[in-house]
Symmetry: D2
Subunit: 457 residues, 4 copies
């Protein structure tokens, strides 16, 4: 971050459909901590920072302390004025179209989220109310398209992966794209970018216009994992739990590539839900895959699931090593079953209403030291509740690794302590150590990784 | 209405983008008086009744007492099941695409309006709050398109006009369309249809795809003035005042053709606003026009404005007799000034924020006999307030003529009594008598018109 | 023609795909009688003259003697410079988009036709060679679209019809358009315009973008029957016989409205072909229709067919009086059979290769006085040959009525003499007299019609 | 080629606009040496072989001796039936859309080329006639689009390059794509693919739909350098000279990457034309570029130009090492001058009419041993003529390396002998030896390269 090129620019929302009322423009102009201006500024900075190879939100925010963004109402719509903006988002002084689009998507989501929360119709105290809220946010972002057959494949995995793994994700994306499937990721670098790139080339070969590259993020994560510019639909959900719910309700199948703590969080979240008795008959294709070199990693993850959640959990996914075409074929087959199932049950193709998500997975988890220390990690719990708590443990580690707030907490109080059953703690410790050894915790280039947690057995 | 062809059908929202949450589907399924189901059923019936030559909402509602509409959530989105629906909206058993679109537009607007009202962000007690509300409704209906130059021409005038006048509105629409202008009307028959038809042909000649034929209506009026099928954007505002505000905020210029009480209401509303001191410098092209045979009518209307609101009011419009091309040329010229003005003031092209609308024009007027009897129609009032009250008088007459609720009130209590200054009452009486004599009050074909009012001097 | 507004303008081919080589630009610049410049100038004048209510090619050509058109090669393609052009094709100084498109279509067809004739691959001495030639012309004009289901309905009928008949053609076009059918006509006024106008409105209602309004003409006829601006695909075939072949090979069904000599020519051409033994099993829906007032006309035409070609000929069409929806339903049904047949026989949807057209119908007929006098109009001929000769008789009458060359011949030598069997001559004479009495020979407004022929029995 | 997966399939031209007359279908069905069937079969095989890593046309043709392709006329257009086709072009049994498109492009070009040659209007004995011919072929392929600003960048370079060079071409393509430029190449692997891939990703980022990836090839070269599937417009010109002329007339600027004999041929062709006195003032941006590792190669090429054609030749291009963004900026700047120039001279943006190409560059060169032995390679010639002869020398080497006919000639008669001035022969020998040493002559993987030529000094 030593060399910091900045630029001042004025951006009109060419091609964007977003309009704001005068009141909304005014809301966005009121600075102050906790204001929606602060939130928007932070997301905008992340979006503009798209090329940077840094995954530390705090570092980025501090590097562009003097970055400012002003909103103006104009004849042709809203205009954004940027001061001291990262120069990477510009080509010969003009902002890249995808970046411009994402800025206005962020504007849309932040304004809507804020206003929606004021509404009496949203009841965040009930599970159904939270799902309705996620639905409204996605609908407002025009993510939900009625009449389209199930073909959104969610790709999860690390933002920090090696070249071989990255190339593999491109190949899988290419095979998915050749079969007309769309890609949804967490919209950062690494696994969040490779499949989209591969699919872009494949869609070009198949003459598919309007292929979708959907990126779902949230304000805490976006700064660390800036959206890659292939993303052509960006949605900023209000927090990590809404984002996870959005993934499993709009995605029709999920592929899990190698990754670190964030990937483990997502995987445990998914298993916890699929193991819920109400979801027993619901088809949901899940594939773990990677190149040959990633086989040990996938084996270890598989073993961790077996050791903690048991064999029943292992039945919810298949593992395919080093065979992108087979991954795509299996996914295609799985999507056919999803389609058949939704048709029979009259469930929407565009939103998985029938999937039961327990409130335990929906409630935001605040990774304070106290909360991290008191997670119930015991084999006595029903597996889907244990999965929920393990999910929280990894969520905390992600925060401590890359999120602004988490990093500050660790700086202040030292590493989190994670307690629990030895039968859980030991495989957990092994898995985390492997993540560290394999450089899956953080983007390379910085100093050696210092763990933000301590496993206490 | 003697021969009543009905049909049962199931309609999917092909091409529509509307999706509903489970909660919204449920809301729409709960019948009962005052429910949103009742509202939707009533609007749907009106939309399906598009071909009928009746303008009496009560008659229509009673003719299709057994009409039902059921909403189902399905794999490809929402499906509507219709029972005993008017057959006119179908060709060989299949619903006309524009009708299908309008049904889903109605669904969208009714669900949104309902939910929006629950929101704390909407403050209907302030003028600004009401304008924001109108903005939100229009934005949700995708009516507001940033980046487009001013070219929406509102055409006002009667739903009950003679053949020569109808042909003239087609010619004017044709000339407007040749100049790439879009049309916005109240979306019923007569003047609400002619200009759209002419513009459709002209847009075809000019190879303009995506010409806009915008219809703005409200639940009370839609049943009497069913949307014509040329309308390709239908918006149902919650009441007459929101609808009038929508007209003057999205329209860039207005053409007034011959009409009856409804047209007079619109004209007085417009004059009252334009005469507000805050709007003094705001360009807003208004043209009164008609064929040669309509010259006496236009002269009388002009004289009425002079006699009641004075010469200053007359300066806000020009009159052009029997020259469609000149109407279009003058409108084109006026729109240039609008564009220039908004650019200079940084006002949105897509929403006329700078136009000041007094709360007196925004508050719903309930045409009870008491309210109608106590309108202050006196020359002592400032002209824009007198205009507001005259507007209310005509609004009540429209309700008594064609709206379900108004007709029932008149049936119960007899005609409204309208009191006021003789200097106002006499020209008013003359104008109303002329409307009756010229068959402008109701569609022909029924019994002789019985006035729903009495002018008391 | 007394008031002659002219305009000078420069037109670029916005949206047109036509490009010319330098050699082609040069060819088009070489004036002189018989040159392709002369041909292009004449067609261009006709296209620009679109609004005029005159059907006399000679009159039009003489009225704009000083009209000139110059072709320039430019950075963005070909530019046309027009001098003393009819002002009707312009709106506020700018050419109507459809007119501009048609000018470049004319350019395309004239250049291609000319060059194609130089090619050794075209063998105009064989029936197959002529059909290939027609195919090449249509392909070059992008008229042939593979992959589209049969839905082109040819509408034939008079350019000079009364208001009731005109409105009826609009209604039929409307019903066809509601059923997603496309319209093909001879591209002038009257019957050539009404169905297109009706279909335009219906396509708008059905949200059909890209409805086709195909106009087929030829240089001799275009000046008298200027293309109406609804036409969105104009093709100029080199002569009347190629145009007729194009109609029956691209059209999937044919509707015949009231008309005069030209309509009779088309009808006899069609019957002659359908009666050919090779076409016995080939489905080809043909419907004669008109409003109630046209029933006597249709009866007379029907009787004429019976009296000359016999009952067998009458089986090739059905007559429907005053029922636009039924016409559209029958046509839709007929098109289903066409589709089924072509699918079974592997014939192209876009070109009716299997239709056998005898050389007698393909060879150009030159209506000199000698040729007209020696037509073999005898019941001894096989019916399809008699049909061919009757077709020639009517073709000559059309030339004498409206074509530049024909009018000059009649001015010089007096009316044509038509000889033949009394059994043919008498019904022919009656039919022609009826055409005259019903003002079907020429547009009204000129002097009383003076026949250009004499039936000699 | 040991493992040879084949597939039988039937392909309809979904989305293609190509239609054939019955006569053309018949022409294509007549087998026999020299027939257009043979030509089409050979091109089709190359297109289907898109994934193969072989650049020996003879090997490919022999590997698929039993490949057959049959053309059928059908209801929805032409259908192709493939027997024993390479399986690589299919995904789960279905042909990749781009491959399907290219098959129908080949069909279109081969049929048109054949028929055009029969036409008297084509005069291949004059320079102007040859240019008109190239224009007609490109127009028929819909390559020429009027109204579009100059933005086609031709990328020349080797099909056999190393990974670093390949990645560099992707980066340059990416920078060109970010600036909205289109790519045109010889449509094979290596340099012909990299820039298209980079531009595809960049166009996605810039939300550019309809980016053009134009591939120009000819029947002799296509089998060895199969079109990569990014190509979305394929044109098969009849021979190498027409292809070269197409490159310089549709391309607005040219980038030359490292390559072998083919690249040298193209570069000398270009220099020979630009050095023609008539082209003195004509702007034509030419950039030589490569990664740092390619600097020695580019230096050697630059030196060769200096040693043979002199300093004047070196002024027609600039060299940029390892700076993709700078390449794109310089090209953008150069294109501005091209635009300005064509606007001033009224030359078409879509075809460079003003570029003078000497007949010496247009006449096909047949690389027989006799012709190769008698090239006049002397410094006494005017530079642009010497360039023409050097171009022929390299053209012969390409044929001997990869083309079916050339390989057979060398097998029969041994290597070509190239004679000339030592002042020319020595730098030529050095350049060729460098090509061999750097593996630029042939794709790696086969046996060691055996030169098909001998430089005789």
């Amino acid at each position: 971050m030593t060399q910091r090129h900045v630029i001042n620019a004025s951006v009109s929302p060419k091609g964007s459909l977003e309009t704001l009322s005068q009141r909304e423009v005014q809301q966005l102009s009121e600075a102050g901590s906790g204001s929606i201006y602060t939130l928007f500024r932070q997301c905008a900075l992340a979006i503009l920072n798209t090329g940077a190879h840094v995954d530390n939100a705090k570092t980025i925010l501090e590097a562009y302390k003097d970055f400012e963004i002003r909103i103006h109402q104009q004849d042709r719509g809203v205009r954004l004025e940027l001061l001291n903006a990262p120069a990477d988002a510009f080509v010969d002084g003009e902002m890249i179209a995808s970046t411009r689009e994402m800025l206005f998507s962020a504007l849309r989501d932040i304004v809507y989220t804020e206003n929606e929360l004021d509404s009496q119709r949203i009841d965040l105290s009930s599970s159904q109310g939270i799902s309705d809220y996620v639905f409204h946010l996605l609908r407002n972002a025009r993510t939900l398209r009625p009449g389209v057959e199930p073909k959104i494949v969610v790709c999860w995995g690390g933002h920090s992966i090696n070249t071989e793994e990255y190339k593999y994700t491109k190949k899988v994306g290419h095979e998915l794209g050749l079969r007309s499937l769309d890609i949804c990721t967490g919209c950062g670098p690494g696994v969040m970018k490779g499949p989209m790139k591969g699919a872009t080339i494949a869609h070009a070969k198949q003459r598919i216009h309007g292929g979708r590259y959907l990126g779902l993020t949230e304000p805490g994560i976006i700064a660390a994992e800036a959206p890659n510019p292939i993303v052509n639909e960006l949605v900023i959900l209000p927090d990590i739990e809404k984002r996870l719910e959005a993934f499993v309700r709009v995605g029709h199948g999920i592929i899990i590539f190698p990754g670190g703590a964030g990937t483990a969080e997502e995987f445990l979240y998914l298993l916890g839900i699929l193991m819920h008795p109400s979801n027993q008959d619901l088809p949901f294709p899940v594939i773990l895959t990677g190149p040959k070199s990633a086989a040990p990693y996938l084996d270890q993850l598989h073993a961790f699931v077996g050791a903690t959640l048991g064999e029943a959990a292992q039945k919810h996914y298949q593992i395919i090593i080093d065979d992108p075409a087979e991954v795509a074929r299996q996914m295609t087959q799985g999507l056919k079953e999803v389609k058949q199932f939704r048709r029979e049950r009259n469930d929407a193709f565009h939103f998985n209403w029938l999937l039961k998500i327990d409130e335990g997975f929906q409630r935001p988890f605040d990774p304070t030291h106290a909360n991290m220390a008191s997670l119930g990690l015991s084999r006595d719990l029903p597996p889907h509740e244990l999965a929920a708590n393990l999910r929280r443990a990894f969520s905390g580690i992600v925060a401590g690794n890359v999120k602004d707030k988490g990093i500050r907490l660790i700086e202040e109080h030292g590493p989190y302590e994670i307690h629990g059953d030895p039968a859980i703690m030991e495989p957990l410790d092994r898995l985390l150590q492997a993540f560290v050894a394999q450089h899956r915790m953080k983007l390379p280039g910085g100093a050696a990784y210092v763990p933000c947690y301590r496993v206490v057995t």
